[in-house]
């Protein structure tokens, strides 16, 4: 069996015995899936938003609405903000697990026996990263599946329901989401291998979600809007960034420093 996968399986067996970790993995998707559905339910009649026209939308967004009515466009605008939150999920969920991965093993003194095995640094870090990223991506996809079904049921407007499942969303959730997860956990594992306290590692690792939060507020304030071109560029850029981050994390992982300098 591939050693990376051996590490993934061990980390899952260990981490998911902790109910609090299970809770942290499940809580955010539950909230972020329920919220847009509640909004769709609350605005299920577009006549509730009938007073709105495309002119009320941020200029860049109105062009995305095309043939939608003003109310539909507003409903789409509100709910589409959650696309970024669905992209945020695979970043935010695994950071806690990933940031603890190396420094946690050091503090419980389980790291030295692992480093004494023939496992390579890349296999170790990739295993740690995947162990954190895969559950986050899976729960994000599950959350999105629930959202997609719920949106069909709750949105009376076929226009809005169709737009919520268009290629832009599908690329965002199924391609960019996992790539963002890998980026986040790579940074978190890197921080974890350099920090000497799990709390410091977690706090520093959480900073990785800041760019996406900035994008969220940028879109709300109308500074820019994520369209298909931008999302494809993001995906391409993330492939490069992820490869670079994993290579860099492997490069800066100092076995000797970890074993001899950390207390």
């Amino acid at each position: 069996m591939n050693k990376t996968w051996v590490i993934v399986r061990k980390d899952w067996a260990e981490v998911f015995k902790n109910r609090f970790v299970l809770f942290t993995v499940a809580f955010l998707p539950l909230i972020l899936t329920a919220l847009p559905l509640i909004i769709l339910y609350a605005t299920r009649s577009t006549s509730d938003l009938g007073g709105f026209s495309s002119a009320d939308m941020p200029a860049g967004f109105a062009s995305l609405c095309m043939e939608m009515s003003g109310g539909e466009c507003m409903q789409y605008f509100i709910v589409s903000q959650f696309m970024l939150l669905f992209m945020l999920m695979p970043m935010a969920i695994p950071v806690t697990i990933a940031s603890y991965s190396i420094v946690g093993e050091k503090t419980t003194r389980t790291l030295e026996p692992v480093l004494a095995t023939p496992v390579t640094t890349f296999e170790l870090l990739a295993g740690k990263a995947l162990a954190a990223a895969i559950p986050a991506v899976v729960v994000t996809w599950l959350g999105f599946a629930v959202f997609a079904v719920g949106a069909r049921v709750l949105s009376p407007s076929p226009n809005v329901a169709a737009r919520l499942l268009d290629p832009l969303w599908l690329i965002a959730i199924f391609i960019v989401g996992p790539l963002l997860a890998v980026a986040a956990v790579s940074v978190a594992v890197m921080v974890s291998s350099r920090a000497n306290d799990p709390r410091v590692a977690e706090q520093l690792s959480m900073l990785v979600i800041l760019p996406l939060l900035a994008a969220f507020f940028g879109q709300i304030s109308g500074l820019f809007f994520i369209n298909q071109t931008l999302i494809l560029w993001m995906a391409a850029g993330l492939v490069v960034v992820d490869s670079g981050l994993l290579a860099f994390a492997t490069h800066i992982f100092q076995r000797e420093t970890i074993l001899t300098r950390w207390k």
Binding site: T110, P113, V114, A116, T117, P118, R255, L259, T260
Partner: protein, 307 residues
């Protein structure tokens, strides 16, 4: 099986291991003694390819440290200072993880073999976190043996264990010795080293002595025979001092403490001399120096030199 030549490790300005040169033969149980901070754990980490030497060379199981580290890690087993077990995983799951990292062919078979050998088979499904210290140590030893390493490194194998658990672990190491395994033991327990080890190295950053326990005792101390008398008198001492092979004689609480080179040859002469002088001999015995005496003397001499 292990050869080092001028092996040196520095951490910044701190010299942890200084030009260590030694060799350990296949099938040998080699003890590594020294005070805290003497460089014992650092040496084990160097020889198991966990850290790189600053200078010097070392070969372990036929592989050069620093050049064939992956091969070394495959060929050696290590019991680290702390057992380092995953507390939330069962004993079996702990071993399964390491067996797969070591690419063991028969994972289940090896796990069963060592859990049975160490008396943990019936508790294989229990979490390691609830195990006693002795059981944890045994599980960690099983982990170090799963891939049948050519050399086994044990760092303080009985440290912190109660006497019963320590004896269990010691007996198990004794069993491994009888199987002909090459074992490198770091320990503070001098009695343990004396009983288990074929040869012993005493270090305090640099190598102070290396030999068999009995040879180390001989190097530092003359052989001494104690004659228990009913009543010791100064004339007995004077008579013994006239014998050419007697190096020294001390009278102490009706005992004569006699230093000689070859007690087996000269004891009958001494006994005859004492009886002729009118002494009533009750017992005769050799004063055995412990390894602790040797260790404390060597480390004390080293500290004296340093200061």
């Amino acid at each position: 099986m292990i050869q080092t030549e001028d092996l040196t490790k520095r951490f910044g300005d701190i010299l942890a291991v200084d030009r260590l040169t030694l060799s350990v033969e296949a099938g040998e149980v080699f003890g590594f003694l020294g005070p805290n901070g003497a460089g014992k754990t650092t040496t084990i980490r160097l020889l198991t390819a966990l850290i790189a030497p600053t200078s010097g060379n070392a070969k372990v199981a036929g592989c050069k440290v620093g050049q064939e580290d992956g091969k070394i890690r495959r060929r050696v087993g290590i019991l680290t200072e702390s057992p380092g077990l995953y507390d939330r995983l069962s004993a079996e799951r702990n071993l399964d993880f390491f067996a797969r990292l070591y690419e063991v062919d028969d994972v289940d078979g090896q796990i069963e073999r060592y859990l049975r050998m160490l008396g943990l088979w019936d508790r294989r499904h229990e979490e390691a976190g609830i195990f006693s210290r002795g059981m944890r140590q045994k599980l960690a030893i099983a982990r170090a043996l799963l891939h049948e390493p050519q050399v086994l490194f044990l760092d303080e194998p009985t440290s912190g264990l109660d006497p019963e658990a320590a004896r269990l672990v010691r007996d198990f190491i004794g069993g491994l010795k009888r199987e002909g395994r090459t074992i490198f033991i770091c320990t503070h327990n001098l009695d343990e080293a004396d009983r288990l080890c074929d040869r012993i190295a005493i270090i305090n950053t640099r190598l102070l002595a290396l030999d068999t326990p009995s040879a180390l005792r001989r190097q530092l101390y003359e052989r001494t025979v104690v004659f228990h008398l009913r009543q010791a008198e100064p004339r007995f001492v004077h008579r013994l001092q006239t014998l050419s092979f007697v190096r020294s004689v001390r009278e102490m609480d009706n005992k004569l403490v006699v230093a000689i080179d070859d007690p087996e040859k000269h004891n009958p002469t001494i006994i005859r001399t004492l009886v002729e002088a009118g002494a009533d001999i009750q017992f005769v015995g050799e004063l055995r120096r412990t390894l602790e005496d040797v260790y404390l003397r060597l480390v004390g001499m080293e500290d004296g030199e340093t200061n």
